[in-house]
Symmetry: C2
Subunit: 332 residues, 2 copies
């Protein structure tokens, strides 16, 4: 067996990691094993925020449970949606009688299971609304009937900003509108230098020829939208950023929140260089980075590469972004 990961039985990987998360942060989160979800150790009286999806993207979403962000996160198996039964249980655990905002990345399984869970929650007498996150520009412009843009790193902004608004007492309707406004104002593009390897496997999900990168990748080890020659990071960042600027219609004097995200095995030095290049590129357009989050927040196991997310900012979004947050993975 190849020594690629620190695991016991791969089938126990996610459960054991969640036990480890609770051990590391007993004051912040509580792990409920069956059905599996993670909730805040202390839940205040406010609209609850629940998100979830396949595992392998940590710290998303379980690492964002805490004050000022999520009230519960529902982890599936690696790269697999959680069940509707899990999601229903997490909704019930998080609800404080003021309704629950569901933050769902746009993948067929997640959308379906969160929808069923919302119906089951309605049967339980719990009101829910859903914000669908579909920020991945690489999957834009598909034909009718296609699943549409994937949900990737903009979900961090939705969870952070809506989380702050919920702490401030926003209603379920207000949070839904706020979440939808964030999603419509944010786009992401990613590239990979190396694919990721599933727990217990010894080969990555695809091989890249020497000197090529995969452009427009998602967060599940799938192929991107095209191969390109490897180039200095300055060029690669330009290639990622130009379409984002165009899609959001950013112009001189505009301000953005930028998320420079490592996909799993990317070193902090590299992400800092990416952020430098992003800053230089936007400087040239007169677009200001009002706030930045640079680190590995939405990963694809050990994929090597990065994503860039731009979110058009205004005073309301910046103030909510700056509000205090305390979770295992994000604190200020």
């Amino acid at each position: 067996m190849a020594a690629r990961q620190l695991v016991n039985d791969p089938d126990d990987f996610v459960r054991e990691a969640l036990e480890g998360l609770q051990r590391a942060h007993p004051g912040l989160v509580r792990y409920h094993e069956d059905p599996a979800y993670v909730v805040r150790a202390r839940q205040p009286d406010k609209v609850a925020l629940v998100s979830g999806g396949g595992s392998g993207h940590e710290p998303l979403h379980t690492g964002f449970v805490g004050s000022g962000m999520l009230d519960a996160a529902v982890p599936g198996a690696v790269f697999a949606s959680p069940t509707a039964f899990q999601i229903r249980a997490a909704i019930a655990a998080a609800d404080r009688g003021r309704g629950v905002l569901l933050i769902v990345k746009n993948y067929t399984g997640d959308v379906l299971n969160f929808r069923i869970a919302a119906e089951l929650a309605a049967d339980d007498g719990i009101q829910t609304r859903t914000v669908l996150v579909d920020d991945d520009l690489a999957t834009d412009g598909q034909e009718d009937g296609a699943p549409g843009r994937r949900g990737t790193a903009a979900v961090v902004a939705v969870e952070k900003i809506c989380g702050a608004a919920a702490e401030n007492g926003a209603s379920l309707d207000e949070l839904t509108a706020l979440g939808e406004r964030i999603v419509s104002s944010a786009r992401t593009l990613a590239l990979a230098l190396e694919a990721c390897t599933q727990p217990g496997q010894d080969r990555p999900s695809f091989d890249l020829p020497d000197g090529e990168i995969e452009f427009g990748v998602g967060i599940h080890g799938e192929h991107g939208v095209g191969r390109r020659p490897y180039a200095p990071v300055r060029e690669l960042v330009g290639d990622l950023t130009k379409p984002l600027v165009a899609a959001l219609g950013l112009d001189r004097g505009d301000e953005v929140i930028a998320i420079v995200n490592g996909l799993g095995a990317t070193h902090g030095l590299e992400l800092s260089v990416v952020h430098r290049e992003l800053g230089g590129f936007l400087d040239g357009l007169g677009v200001r980075i009002g706030r930045a989050l640079v680190g590995s927040y939405v990963t694809a196991l050990d994929m090597r590469g990065c994503s860039i997310t731009l979110l058009r900012a205004d005073d309301e979004l910046l103030a909510l972004w700056d509000a205090p947050v305390r979770t295992p993975a994000l604190t200020w």
Copy 2:
């Protein structure tokens, strides 16, 4: 050229990353380019803490500049000591007339250059004291004249805890004694599943045969003290932890601060599982993990693996550990 890293010219890698760090955290840190060091954006009137060493270990040390931790960090090239000239300049920039504590990992180049810088600082009229960090148990028990134990992840505890004490108004002598007490109470062991790759290179620093791991590695891509067969993480964690417990003389009823550290390319799920196994192992001995830090804090570029640090805790250390900290990489 192989597409292993997001870089421009490898010779510019560290400088460009430091520019990116400042761009991401303008309220926290200021990057001085020549000579290169990073200082707090606002420096209060207290004993200053300065650390540094080769780059490639980020977020160490530059990511720990901020309130409650370091006042300045001095980065060398990748895996190379900063010059005495750089360190002297950082000392002068950080000093507020109350003296400067130098936190130095035990490597020949760092020890020499910090010593020369301390002499130069004395010429500048600045009082310094040095805490030498030598926690790596893999390099214990060498013959006379050898460099002694390497400094690894325990340096995070020294920086955090002495940083808190400095904010509380501790004197230079008190901080020196505190730092030495932490070092003598902490030991670390690491293992690697895969070596690291230098910027601009396309091959790791060593190859591991299928099914073997490297035990007792340091943080510079060098070989460890021996090869072992790959095993479930439960066994590997036991192999790392047993010698730490013995070296610190930990016994039933004792309490520790645990640092479960990723070496660069290790996924958060893996580190959570390592922490779970560490907790289970120490439970069996009746040793309590009072506080835990789980994440990639002292890296060896993109090395795949982890280190475990145990620090024997008491009420004073726990209170200082819990004190507020706000840096690019550590905030609570």
